[in-house]
Amino acid sequence: MSIFHYTDSLLRAAVMTLKLCAFGAVAGTAWGLVVGLLRASSFRPLRWLAALYTSVLRGVPILIVLLFTYYGLPLAMPNLRFSAYICGAIGLTLFVGAYVAEAVRGGLESVPTGQTEAAQALGLSNFQRLRLVMLPQAVRVIVPPWIGILLALVKETSLVSVVGLVELTRAGRVVGQESNNTLAAFALVALVYFVICWPIGQFGRWYEHRLAASGLRTVHEPAVSNLLGEDAEVPTGGAA
């Protein structure tokens, strides 16, 4: 059967991929923001915990996180039913959150210390200082790495297929087997991913151009070697 008989199933699977992306993006960004702000907290144990979380989640494979959530959540809460989708979505959220937290930390650090001092001198509380002075200025610097994280997220959804969810990549496998044309199936799947990812990447580049034009230097992605606290001066690569 021609591959194009299966466009229906592929499109449904693509929708599932997009659902995962949307969940991961929204929840992951929100969670990452929280963790990132906690890292700037004045309460040391919270700061330390957030740092540990960020460090660990960025130093383990996404697949391990997904497997952990998939097998672990039902064990931890045996009364609730966890679908592959929910497990995958939660796993992605936890993973993305760590990278967003790191981007947030980088963004806050890029705000000149004079701003903190001025805010404190005016009597603003820590929370107000963060919300009214630091974050608005940090956002510009956070956006490029954040876009990189989203781009990686789209591609990482493919791994949720490992826990059985029928998203785009698994659908490609199934369609390939049924049509006896795995090559064409995956070529099509690749095309769909490309169509989703490429605009995101282009937007990221455009945004960085705008930033560079206004004189701001950007760090492309929170580097894993930040485990030591050094920032890569040069744009890093990316995950699959």
Binding site: F68, G72, K155, G201, A223, E233, G237, A240
Partner: protein
């Protein structure tokens, strides 16, 4: 109530070690190949012949926008169906190398571009030709720029090598899943697994940092 019992894992110590070994092997081999591919792609993107530039750019752009799993499945299942059979090991190596080569090309480009243009002017003023300038003036400072990003990429590659488990390659993740099925002690198994990967990535980052500081006393 969740009880922890790490002792259930002790009979599997050697299997875990074996898994780590396979992960290390696949990572190092793939990264070496990825560097070669990345260098070719970098030179390709800067080539004076337009078709070469186009092919290199297409390679980099396509890889950056599709998941590595798709590349892996394309090679293992897709090509396998057509008779070109890759072992899980080689399929993983190929997919990892192809994938990371594209990112390394960008890292090389940015690293060499970040070398201050004043140095190139000085080299030109002294009469050095373009190839001589690259070899004696651009290369070492460029590599220094590249090392942090390249180390980061290697760590990412190592972490991503876990994807090889999806085609039954016996790396650490694959063995962890097997042990999980055997013992049903999910928390212990994956906590140990996560810890092992974390230790590996931290160790690599530390080692690279130390090496870099020693090599680049200038």
């Amino acid at each position: 109530m969740v009880t922890w019992d790490f002792s259930a894992l002790s009979p599997y110590k050697s299997i875990i070690l074996h898994g780590i070994g396979e992960t290390a092997l696949v990572s190092v081999l793939s990264f070496a190949l990825a560097c070669v591919l990345g260098l070719i792609a970098y030179l390709g993107c800067a080539n004076h012949l337009r078709p070469v530039r186009v092919i290199s750019s297409i390679y980099v752009e396509v890889i950056r926008n599709i998941p590595m799993l798709v590349v892996l499945f394309f090679i293992y299942f897709g090509l396998g169906e057509k008779g070109l059979n890759f072992s899980p090991f080689w399929a993983a190596v190929a997919a990892l190398a192809i994938n990371n080569g594209a990112y390394l090309a960008e890292i090389f480009r940015a690293g060499f571009q970040a070398v201050p243009s004043g140095l190139h002017e000085a080299a030109s003023a002294l009469g050095l030709g373009p190839f001589q300038t690259f070899r004696h003036v651009t290369f070492m400072p460029g590599i220094r720029n590249i090392i942090p990003a390249a180390t980061n990429q290697f760590i990412m590659l190592m972490l991503f090598s876990s994807v090889a488990s999806t085609v039954a390659f016996p790396d650490l993740t694959y063995e962890l899943q097997r042990i999980n099925s055997a013992t049903l002690r999910t928390f212990e198994v994956f906590t140990v697994g996560a810890a092992l990967y974390y230790v590996l990535s931290t160790a690599i980052a530390l080692a690279a940092g130390l090496l870099s500081r020693r090599m680049y006393r200038w």
